[in-house]
Amino acid sequence: MDAIMLQEKLVERLLCPRVRTARRKVKNWNKQYVGFATLPNQVHRKSVKKGFDFTLMVAGESGMGKSTLVNSLFLTDLYKDRKLLNAEERINQTVEIIKHTVDIEEKGVKLKLTIVDTPGFGDAVNNNECWKPITDYIDQQFEQYFRDESGLNRKNIQDNRVHCCLYFIPPFGHGLRPVDVEFMKALHEKVNVVPLIAKADCLTPNEIKKLKDRVREEIERFGIKVYQFPECDSDEDEEFKQLDKELKECCPLAVIGSNTVVEARGQRVRGRLYPWGIVEVENQSHCDFVKLRNMLIRSHMHDLKDVTCDVHYENYRAQCIQDMTSKLTQDNRMESPIPILSLSTPDVETDRLIKMKDEELARMQEMLNKMQQQIHDGKDQ
C-alpha cells in the first residue's frame, strides 16, 4: 500500500503547477511512475497549434453601445466603415444577422473570433417575435454541426455554433422590459446568455446597485436561465475563489465601452470625456468592463464553449432525434424507416445508425402495444 500512496503523492506533486522541475524525480522513480501526468501539456501543445475559435453574439436595441463594447473588448475596430441608418431607412428593416470574423494572435496563440451582430432588433414599433431570426440562426448553426458530425468527413468540421450571447439591457429602465424578458426566455435554452447593463456611465453607483438587484430578482422570477459561472473547485487558490465570488455578485455586469483614447491622470486610457469628469473604461471603480473581459476571455471562454457543446447542443440534438422518431411513429413506417435526416451519401456508419433506430422504434412500438392492451383489459374489467 505504501508504494501506491507514494506514487500518488508524486503524481500530485507533478500535477501541481508550482513544482515544474519534477523531471529529476521522474527519472529516479520511473519504475513506479507511469507518466500520463504530462497529458495536459500535450493537449496544450496540440491546441495551440490548431488555434481556437470563438463565436460571440451581441444583441440589444440600437444605440446601446454594442459595437463600441466589442471594439473595446478585443481592441480592434470591427465597425470602421459603418454607416448609421436614419429612421427613414430603418422603417422597413427587419432583424438581420451580420457576421464579422477576425483573426487575433497573442503570444503564439491564435484565436479566430466571430462576432454575430443583430441590427434591427427591438427597433420597430411592433416588435412581436423580433427574436425569431436570431433563434433561427442559432438553430441553423446547430443543425449544420449536427449534419457535419453525422457526415463522412469529420476531420475539418467548422464550428460555427454560437458560444455566448451578450444581451444589452438599457440602463434607462427600472428593470427588465417585456421585450427583454421574452428575448432571454426564447434564447436561454439555446445559447449561453450573459446579460449586461449597457451605457452604465449614466447611472450613479446607487442606481446601478438598485438596477442590478432589480434585474437579478426579475431574472429569477421569470425563470430565465442565464449563464451560470461554474462552481469553484475546493482546491483552487483563494484569490481565484475570491474573484469568482465577486463576479457572481456583480451579475449583471454594468459596462461602458469607448472607441476613443483620452488623457486621464497622466496616462492615455480608453475613456469618455465629459465636461464634469472623465470615465475610464478600464477603471474598476467606474464600471465592470474589466470583469467582463476577464470573464469572457481570460477565465471562462473555454467553459462557455464546453457548456455550448455539452448542454445546449446536446439538448438540440436530443430534441431533433426525438422529433424524427415521433414523426416516424406517426407515419407508421415501421418496416423500413427512411431517415428524415437527409444524408448525402449512405455508408456503413449511417446504416448502423438506422439499424439502431429501427430497433429502438420496434421496442417503443412494443411498449405502446402492451400499454394499449393493459388499457383494454382495464376497461373490460
Binding site: N86, C130, G175, Y274, P275, I278, H286
Partner: protein
C-alpha cells in the same frame, strides 16, 4: 420742441377709473387742447409737466398703461392653470425632470404612493394636480403622465389613448363654452404642452418617436426633449441633436414653437434661435450636492458631479427659461387660439351647426 410726456415712476395712487378720454388728437396748432373742446375735461394735467407739443396724441398722462397693473392684480387673485403632459417610455427620468422644473414634488410618485415601477399593460393616463405659489402668484399645475407608453413588445397605436385624452379635454371645454348659462371661468383642462422624451441612443430617432410626433403635432404643442443626456459627450450630443432636427424636418413634424405661428419679426427671431437649439438635452435631479462650496442640484458619479443648472453640462436651464419664464403664456394661447379652434371648427363642421344647450342638459348634447 416737445416735451415728451413721462408718466410718473410711481403708480398713481388712485388707480383711476379713467374718465373716458374725449380728447381726440388735437390739431397741431391749438395750444390748449381741452379748451377747444366742449364737454368734460378728459385729461388730468399732471403738475409739473407742460403741454405736449405737436405730433403727440396725448396731452397729459391718461393712465391707459395702468391696465397692465389691473390685469396683473386680477390674475394674481384668480391664479392660473397650466397642464403639462409628459410622454416617453419608462425610465427616461420624466417625473424627475418635472419635479426639477417646478422645484417641487409634482409628479405622480409624490402623492405618497410607494408603488413599484411596474409597467402597465396598456397606456394609462394619470393626471395629478398641485397648486404651487411663487411671489404671490398661484398656479394650478397639472402633470399628466402616460405610463406604459412604448414599453410593450407591440407598440402599435399606443398613442391612441393619449390622442383620445387630448381630444376629450377639448370636447369638455367646447361643451362648457357652448352652454347657455356658462360658468364665468371655464375650468381649463386642455393640455397646453406635451414634453416628449427622446431616448439618448446617440444614433437617431426611433420609429415610435416619429410616429407619435407625426400624429400629435397637429393636435397639441409638442416640445421634444433629449432625456438623460449625461450619457453623451458634448460631441455626441451635438451630432445627435443635429440628426434629430434633420429627421424632424424630413418628416414635416412641427414642434413648438411652430414656424407658422410667429406673429412678427421679433417673435420670429427669438423663436428661430430657440428652434436652432432644440431639442434640449436635459438632465433632471432632485438631489443636492456640494460643488466648489455651493450647493447645486446634480447627480454624483464616481468621476464627477453633473450639475443640472450648469449650461456647460446640460441644457436644463435653457428648457426651464423657455418653458416657464418666457413662453408659458404663449403655450396657453397657442393651445386656445389654434389647436382648440381647429378642433372646434372641425366639430362644428361635422355637425353642420350647433344648438346651444342649457346647463341642465346632462344627457347627450346636440353636438
Amino acid at each position: 420742441m416737445s416735451e415728451s410726456i413721462v408718466p410718473p415712476e410711481v403708480r398713481p395712487k388712485p388707480a383711476v377709473p379713467a374718465k373716458p378720454p374725449h380728447v381726440a388728437a388735437p390739431s397741431p396748432t391749438a395750444p390748449h387742447g381741452p379748451s377747444g373742446l366742449g364737454g368734460g375735461v378728459g385729461v388730468d394735467r399732471v403738475p409739473g409737466l407742460g403741454h405736449s407739443g405737436s405730433g403727440s396724441t396725448l396731452l397729459g398722462y391718461i393712465g391707459i398703461d395702468t391696465i397692465i397693473e389691473q390685469m396683473r392684480k386680477k390674475t394674481m387673485k384668480a391664479g392660473f392653470d397650466f397642464n403639462i403632459m409628459i410622454v416617453g417610455h419608462s425610465g427616461l427620468g420624466k417625473s424627475t425632470l418635472v419635479n426639477t422644473l417646478f422645484k417641487s414634488q409634482v409628479s405622480r410618485w409624490s402623492s405618497g404612493w410607494g408603488g413599484e415601477h411596474k409597467i402597465p399593460k396598456t397606456v394609462e393616463i394619470k393626471a395629478v394636480s398641485h397648486v404651487i405659489e411663487e411671489g404671490g402668484v398661484k398656479m394650478k399645475l397639472t402633470v399628466i403622465d402616460t405610463p406604459g407608453f412604448g414599453d410593450q413588445i407591440n407598440n402599435e397605436n399606443c398613442w391612441d389613448p393619449i390622442s383620445k385624452y387630448i381630444n376629450e379635454q377639448y370636447e369638455k371645454f367646447l361643451k362648457e363654452e357652448v352652454n347657455i348659462a356658462r360658468k364665468k371661468r371655464i375650468p381649463d383642462t386642455r393640455v397646453h404642452c406635451c414634453l416628449y422624451f427622446i431616448s439618448p441612443t446617440g444614433h437617431s430617432l426611433r420609429q415610435l418617436d416619429i410616429e407619435f410626433m407625426k400624429h400629435l403635432s397637429r393636435v397639441v404643442n409638442i416640445i421634444p426633449v433629449i432625456a438623460k443626456s449625461d450619457t453623451m459627450t458634448p460631441d455626441e450630443k451635438n451630432e445627435f441633436k443635429h440628426r434629430v432636427r434633420k429627421e424632424l424636418e424630413t418628416y414635416g413634424i412641427e414642434y413648438y414653437p411652430q414656424n407658422e405661428f410667429d406673429d412678427d419679426m421679433e417673435d420670429k427671431n427669438e423663436n428661430d434661435k430657440i428652434r436652432e437649439a432644440m431639442p434640449f438635452a436635459v438632465v433632471g435631479s432632485d438631489k443636492e450636492f456640494q460643488v466648489n462650496g455651493k450647493r447645486v442640484l446634480g447627480r454624483k458619479t464616481a468621476w464627477g458631479v453633473v450639475e443640472v443648472e450648469n449650461p456647460n453640462h446640460c441644457e436644463f436651464a435653457l428648457l426651464r427659461d423657455f418653458l416657464i419664464r418666457s413662453h408659458l403664456q404663449d403655450l396657453k394661447e397657442v393651445t386656445h387660439n389654434i389647436h382648440y379652434e381647429t378642433y372646434r371648427a372641425r366639430r362644428l363642421n361635422d355637425n353642420g351647426g350647433l344648438h346651444p344647450i342649457s346647463a341642465n342638459n346632462t344627457q347627450d348634447s346636440n353636438l
